[in-house]
């Protein structure tokens, strides 16, 4: 992106905005995990739009499935999202007071995992950067409101509840102050907020019933609330960034002159793997499929269509794993969604159903013999043991209708934007998270299929984030899993370079000085004939010329030599012309000098001398005249 921005630039600072959006999204969407100090917990697809002159005119960012569970819960040794630590450490005492922000150590959401600092990361300094970028891109008012909402999310985690022992719950008196602060921060009605923290609404035979929740349900609902607010805030920040990047212009421009950059969470294997890892790894399977399809299938198809002989090679695709996950009837996601419609859903029954529906996929799916809640998926990048516990609950895009109403009625514009009143508050069958994710991924795949892809395969050299350490076994695993070895094989057997005949002719006609126009296959053959090279290495298909890396190197070198020769020729011609002009001037001046000498008057001599000053050579007559 930095390169694109620097090279392309823009007339409206668009490239700066594009670069500045990244610290904002990073602080809100990245966190420390065991594996990675700055792990992206969301997927990002950025489109950068160019005009005819190659200048950046607009941008658009699409975000994918932020890991919202992190807001209320982190594994040991991990942190919550960076932004929380940044505001606690980076804001002035005065501002902290204004926003009711405490120290990191005073928040339950930030201390549960007992990890609050990352080695080598200065949250205070990073906040300065984030804050500056926010003011420029989101406006100062939005930044102010964003901090208020973040502060409220943290405080929601601090509310303490009391179990009334009768299936009802109340807010601890010591938390009254917290609740009041949250209401002020979010500009919402405090009484309603209190009421709906511990009760839920259900509809029975047409009428609405407000009933109490027990402590467990209350806790769940509270975490659900903070996660929902944070998730929506994140999405809103993305759309604010898009507004500033003029994404609407981008969408309208039918030319689709864009470069898309995809940065999506990498394949994950943890000790305990749940719904989050399942979703992340699913996304990676989709990308892997695209890669396999692109490198192998597309390549073969092109040769076939263009009538070129080639050697077929065997490769593994991951279609079985994808069927297991996303098949419309027997896939894990579909079965997971079915479970949502059953009132008393159970994780165990879900797993049985998945197993029964996928008897034919033993190669990629198995259940643990020891633990009945565990199952294994043999992903392309390794086997992952998942625990089904919590899948059903995490898949719900839950939110209580009443609490949404409270937030809808907020007097703060940003909160209103997070909870638009147009949104249906009734219990309409909301789509599950996995369902939404599947749809998003499929739409991304459609977009990708329409583009010409460039792949960057990132590899980590060791597990300890340590520089200078190279673990060959770990690297080999990644090389195998990402199909790099197989890719190399197919590329070597195939013809990685291909050009349309007219493009080829345009680029390489300089190689043949006798080339006389035309850009058909015939013309290309003519160009090739001039080369002192085994031209049978170039495969001429119906529409394209195909060749290998060595051939590309050869012809590029030939082109450079020819271009240099041509440049010398052009330089020669120019220099000859310049010399001729000078010669003519000198001859003319010689006559003037002679005339002045014979004239002898001081005025004429001076005028003649002046004329001679600008010439590059001093001729004999000039000296005599002097």
């Amino acid at each position: 992106m930095q390169y694109l921005a620097e090279v392309a630039g823009s007339e409206s600072d668009m490239e700066k905005k594009l670069l500045e959006s990244s610290p904002i999204l990073e602080s809100l969407g990245n966190a420390q995990t065991i594996r990675n100090d700055n792990s992206s917990r969301f997927g990002k697809w950025s489109e950068i739009y160019f005009d005819e002159n190659g200048k950046i005119v607009a941008g658009k960012i699409v975000d994918y499935l932020l890991e919202k569970s992190r807001v209320s819960h982190q594994e040991k040794g991990e942190r919550n999202y960076h932004i929380f630590y940044q505001i606690c450490r980076g804001l002035s005492q005065e501002d902290k007071k204004k926003y009711y922000i405490l120290d990191v150590e005073d928040y339950k959401y930030l201390t549960k995992s007992s990890k609050t600092k990352i080695k080598g990361v200065d949250d205070e300094q990073n906040f300065a950067e984030t804050s500056e970028a926010m003011e420029r891109i989101l406006t100062r008012e939005n930044k102010d409101n964003l901090i208020r909402i973040l502060s409220a999310v943290l405080l929601i985690g601090n509310i303490e509840f009391i179990d009334n022992q009768d299936d009802s719950t109340s807010i601890s008196p010591s938390s009254a102050d917290i609740v009041s602060k949250i209401s002020k921060l979010l500009c919402i009605n405090e009484d309603n907020f209190i009421k709906f923290l511990t009760t839920k609404r259900s509809v029975a035979s047409g009428s609405e019933i407000i009933s109490n929740m027990n402590l467990i349900k209350t806790e769940e609902a509270r975490h659900g609330l903070s996660r929902m607010i944070y998730h929506r805030l994140f999405q809103e920040v993305v759309s604010l960034i898009n507004e500033s990047l003029d994404s609407k212009t981008a969408a309208k421009s039918s030319k689709r002159r864009y470069i898309g950059v995809l940065d999506i969470y990498g394949f994950e294997i943890f000790k305990h793997n749940s719904f989050e890892q399942f979703s992340i790894n699913y996304a990676n399977e989709k990308l892997q499929q695209h890669f396999v399809k692109y490198t192998f299938k597309t390549e073969e198809k092109i040769y076939e269509e263009d009538g070129i002989d080639f050697e077929k090679i065997k490769y593994k695709d991951n279609i079985l794993i994808l069927d297991l996950i996303e098949d419309k009837t027997t896939g894990i996601i579909s079965i997971l969604d079915d479970e949502l419609r059953i009132p008393q859903s159970s994780d165990e029954r879900l797993l049985n159903k998945i197993e029964n529906a996928n008897q034919d996929k033993r190669e990629v799916f198995s259940r643990s013999l020891k633990k009945k809640e565990e199952f294994t998926i043999m992903h392309f990048a390794g086997d992952v043991d998942y625990s089904i516990n919590g899948f059903v609950e995490k898949n719900k895009d839950q939110s209580s209708g009443n609490m949404k109403k409270v937030l809808q009625n907020s007097e703060m514009e940003l909160v209103q934007r997070l909870f638009p009143s147009s949104e249906d508050t009734k219990n309409k069958a909301t789509k599950s998270l996995a369902y939404q994710f599947r749809r998003q991924l499929n739409s991304l795949m459609n977009t990708l299929e329409d583009t010409n892809p460039f792949y960057i395969k990132c590899i980590k050299p060791n597990h300890h984030k340590s520089p200078d350490e190279f673990d060959p076994i770990l690297v080999l695993d990644q090389l195998r899993n990402t199909r790099i070895v197989e890719s190399l094989e197919i590329v070597q057997k195939g013809f990685p370079y291909r050009m349309k005949y007219n493009d080829f002719a345009a680029r390489y006609k300089v190689v043949n000085p006798n080339y006389n126009g035309g850009n058909s296959k015939k013309a290309v053959e003519l160009i090739l004939k001039k080369l002192n090279y085994d031209v049978s290495r170039f495969k001429l298909g119906h529409n394209f010329i195909h060749y290998k890396s060595e051939d590309n190197k050869y012809i590029e070198a030939q082109r450079n030599v020819s271009v240099d020769k041509l440049i010398t020729k052009v330089q020669n011609a120019v220099r000859v012309r310049q010399a001729k002009v000078l010669m003519r001037q000198l001859r003319k001046y010689k006559q003037i000098c002679k005339a002045a000498l014979s004239d002898g008057s001081i005025v004429v001599v001076n005028a003649a001398l002046k004329k001679g000053e600008d010439l590059r050579f001093i001729i004999k007559e000039h000296r005599e005249l002097k």
Binding site: E6, G260, D383, P453, K460, V475, V491
Partner: protein, 128 residues
């Protein structure tokens, strides 16, 4: 954690004498395209602070877990002015350059797909 046992891995990593001596920019130039050669090539490059390796159009990037001075403005300029990218060592800028050129030439949308495990340097690659 992985299906293939580590023992098997160790067995399969046998380097030919030749592979120990040097390395190539592009894996396509390897005399023999076996796993060991690929791995050793990448390892050799990594130890010489060369984190990028090319495989035709695919760029392989190994996370150095520290910042090398390979993203300075003059490097940008170097890649920007290169007549063909193959003249220069593999770099993430080369991919970006390729995408821009292809976009201008074909007027067809381009994409840069950054893949890898968590912690392999995708986000950093994206920013550059």
């Amino acid at each position: 954690m992985f299906t293939i046992s580590e023992k098997m891995h160790k067995k399969s990593i046998k380097f030919s004498k030749k592979s120990l001596q040097n390395y190539v920019h592009d894996l396509l130039m390897l005399d023999e395209s076996n796993e060991a050669n690929i791995l050793y090539n990448i390892k050799n490059r990594f130890s010489k602070k060369r984190i990028y390796t090319r495989l035709g159009k695919i760029l392989i990037s190994v996370n150095p877990y520290k910042l090398y001075p390979v993203y300075t403005p003059d490097v940008v300029e170097k890649y920007q002015n290169a007549r063909t990218v193959n003249q220069l060592p593999p770099h993430i800028y080369e991919v970006a350059k390729g995408a821009i050129e292809e976009l201008i030439m074909t007027k067809h949308p381009q994409s840069i797909l950054i893949a890898g495990e968590s912690g392999s340097g995708k986000t950093e690659a994206c920013k550059q």
